[in-house]
C-alpha cells in the first residue's frame, strides 16, 4: 500500500439535507414562520454539539466571505443566497451552511487522509440535527434534495490531492477522463480550466443516488489509493536532472524573491514540495500546505486587518515564505 501522507492534503465529507414543510431555499420568500424556527433549532443543536460562531451572509464583508471560500468552509453559491447563513466550528473543521441550494449542507473538513473520521464527525452532527428537525426523506429516493443528483445519501466525499508528477508528465489528463466514466470527478482546486495551479486536485463522487454512505466512502478511497500508486510511479519516471533543476530554481525564487503573485507562489511551492518528497530538502510539507492557505488573496487581507492591494499582497506573500524557509538549513 502506497503512503498517502504527502499526497493527500485534506479530506472532506458534506451532507445535503432539507426540512419538510418549508420551501427549498430557491423558493423561499423570507417571511415563512418555519424559516425562523429552522434557524433557531439548527443553531441550538449545533451549540449543544460543538463550539461555533454563527453568521448570516449579509453580516459578513466580501473579504470575510471570500476568505471562508478560500478555506473551503463555505461555497461561492452561498454568498448569492438572500437567506443564507453559516455555523462554523471554532476549530474550523465543521461547517453547516444554511439555505444554500438545500436547507442544510453539513460538512467536516480535516487535514490529511482522514475521510472516515470526517464522515463520522459529520454523521454525529447529522444525527443530532435529524433528532430535532423533520428531515425530508422518502423512499425509494432517500434524502430529498433540490437537485435530483444529490438524492439518496445526499453525500459528497472529497479528498484534496497533490499530484505533481502526474501533472508534469500529463498522465493526469487521461485519468480525469477515465474517472469521469467511473462516476468520479477529478479536477483542479486552484486555477481555471484543466490546468491545476500547484498540482492540487480534488477527487469526489459525482452522484449519491442509490448508494449507501459506506459505498461512497469505499469508492472514493479506492480511487485515492489508485492515484497514490500512479503518482508514485510518475514520480519515479520523471526523476532526473531536469526536474531537480526546476526544483532548485523554485526554492531559490521562494527563498529570495521580494514579490510573489499567487500563481507564481503556489506553483513554486508545489515544486519545493516535490523536492521534499524526493528527499532533496528537509522542510515540513504541512507548513507549506498551511502557507498556501494563508497566503490566498482574501485570507492575507483578513489577517492584516485591512484591504491589501495586489502589490502589498505580493510583498507579504514573499516575506512569509522567505521567513519560513530561512528556518530550514539546506
Amino acid at each position: 500500500m502506497v503512503s498517502a501522507h504527502n499526497t493527500v492534503i485534506s479530506s472532506r465529507v458534506r451532507l445535503a439535507r432539507n426540512i419538510n414543510g418549508l420551501a427549498f431555499p430557491a423558493m423561499l420568500r423570507g417571511n415563512e414562520p418555519k424559516l425562523k424556527e429552522f434557524y433557531a433549532k439548527t443553531r441550538e443543536i449545533c451549540d449543544s454539539r460543538f463550539k461555533n460562531k454563527f453568521y448570516t451572509v449579509n453580516s459578513l464583508s466580501q473579504t470575510q466571505l471570500s476568505s471562508l471560500i478560500e478555506n473551503h468552509l463555505i461555497s461561492p453559491a452561498l454568498c448569492e443566497k438572500p437567506f443564507g447563513g453559516m455555523i462554523i466550528s471554532d476549530d474550523r473543521t465543521i461547517s453547516v451552511m444554511l439555505n444554500e441550494e438545500d436547507h442544510l449542507r453539513e460538512q467536516c473538513i480535516l487535514g490529511g487522509y482522514r475521510l472516515d473520521e470526517a464522515y463520522r464527525t459529520v454523521e454525529s452532527v447529522d444525527i443530532a440535527l435529524r433528532s430535532k428537525l423533520d428531515i425530508a426523506f422518502k423512499l425509494p429516493y432517500g434524502h430529498l434534495t433540490a437537485c435530483p443528483t444529490n438524492l439518496g445519501a445526499g453525500m459528497r466525499a472529497s479528498v484534496m490531492m497533490f499530484l505533481p508528477a502526474m501533472a508534469i508528465n500529463h498522465t493526469i489528463d487521461l485519468e480525469i477522463r477515465k474517472m469521469h466514466a467511473r462516476g468520479i470527478t477529478l479536477r483542479g482546486v486552484y486555477g481555471e480550466g484543466s490546468t491545476a495551479d500547484g498540482f492540487m486536485y480534488q477527487i469526489s463522487n459525482q452522484s449519491a443516488v442509490g448508494k449507501s454512505e459506506e459505498e461512497i466512502l469505499q469508492k472514493v478511497k479506492g480511487e485515492v489509493a489508485r492515484l497514490c500508486e500512479l503518482e508514485e510511479q510518475a514520480q519515479r519516471s520523471i526523476k532526473g536532472l531536469n526536474i531537480e533543476d526546476q526544483i532548485w530554481r523554485a526554492y531559490g525564487l521562494l527563498r529570495y524573491a521580494k514579490k510573489l503573485c499567487q500563481k507564481e507562489f503556489v506553483d513554486n511551492v508545489a515544486l519545493v514540495k516535490l523536492g521534499v518528497i524526493y528527499g532533496m530538502f528537509d522542510i515540513d510539507i504541512d507548513m507549506l500546505n498551511r502557507l498556501i492557505n494563508d497566503t490566498q488573496k482574501n485570507t492575507l487581507s483578513l489577517n492584516a486587518r485591512r484591504e491589501l492591494n495586489a502589490s502589498e499582497r505580493d510583498i507579504r506573500r514573499a516575506e512569509m515564505i522567505n521567513e519560513k524557509l530561512k528556518l530550514y538549513r539546506i
Binding site: 420551501a23 426523506f137 423512499l139 438524492l151 439518496g152 442509490g210
Partner: protein, 160 residues
C-alpha cells in the same frame, strides 16, 4: 418604397391593378379590398394559437411552494419536499435517468421506524401526509401496512 396611391405610408402590398404591378400600403390596399396578410400578421396568428394552446393546458403547480412544472423542467431543481409528490412522475423519470436504485444507506432503517412512530403519534393535521404515505411504493405493495395507515386515518377522521 412609398405607397403609390397615398404617397404617405410605406408600401407593404404588391398587387396587380389593370395588369401592372402596384405597390400599396395596407390602408390603401384595404380601401380597394385588396388586403393580403403580411409576415407580421402571420406571426400574430402563431402567437394567438400558442396562447390558445396554453390556455387549454393547465400547468401543474406545487400548492406548498408555488413551483410550476415548467420551472422544474427548465431548472432541474425541485422547490420543496412536497414537489416530489406533486410531480411524482417527473421525480421518477429523473431518478431512472440517474440509474437510481432504492436508497439503502445509513438512515434507510431509521426512516421505517420513524414511519411507525409517526403513525402512532399522528394527529388530525397529519391526515394529508398519511394519504400521501399510501403512495409510497414500499407501502403500496404491502397490504398490511396500507391497512394500518387506513385504520389510523379513519380513527383520526372520527376525532374531527
Amino acid at each position: 418604397m412609398l405607397c403609390e396611391m397615398c404617397r404617405k405610408r410605406l408600401a407593404t402590398n404588391f398587387v396587380k391593378i389593370n395588369g401592372s404591378d402596384t405597390e400599396l400600403c395596407e390602408v390603401c390596399a384595404a380601401k380597394l379590398n385588396l388586403y393580403t396578410p403580411s409576415v407580421a400578421d402571420f406571426f400574430d396568428m402563431i402567437f394567438e394559437l400558442e396562447d390558445y394552446m396554453d390556455s387549454r393546458y393547465e400547468e401543474r403547480v406545487c400548492p406548498a411552494c408555488g413551483m410550476r412544472e415548467s420551472q422544474l423542467i427548465d431548472g432541474y431543481k425541485f422547490g420543496c419536499s412536497k414537489c416530489y409528490d406533486v410531480f411524482a412522475d417527473r421525480a421518477e423519470e429523473y431518478f431512472k435517468e440517474l440509474r437510481g436504485v432504492e436508497y439503502r444507506g445509513r438512515f434507510a432503517s431509521d426512516a421505517s421506524s420513524r414511519k411507525r412512530r409517526y403513525l402512532k403519534d399522528a394527529t388530525v393535521a397529519d391526515i394529508p401526509h398519511l394519504y400521501s404515505m399510501l403512495e409510497y411504493p414500499a407501502i403500496k405493495s404491502d397490504v398490511a401496512k396500507t391497512r394500518l395507515i387506513l385504520n389510523r386515518i379513519k380513527e383520526l377522521e372520527g376525532e374531527r
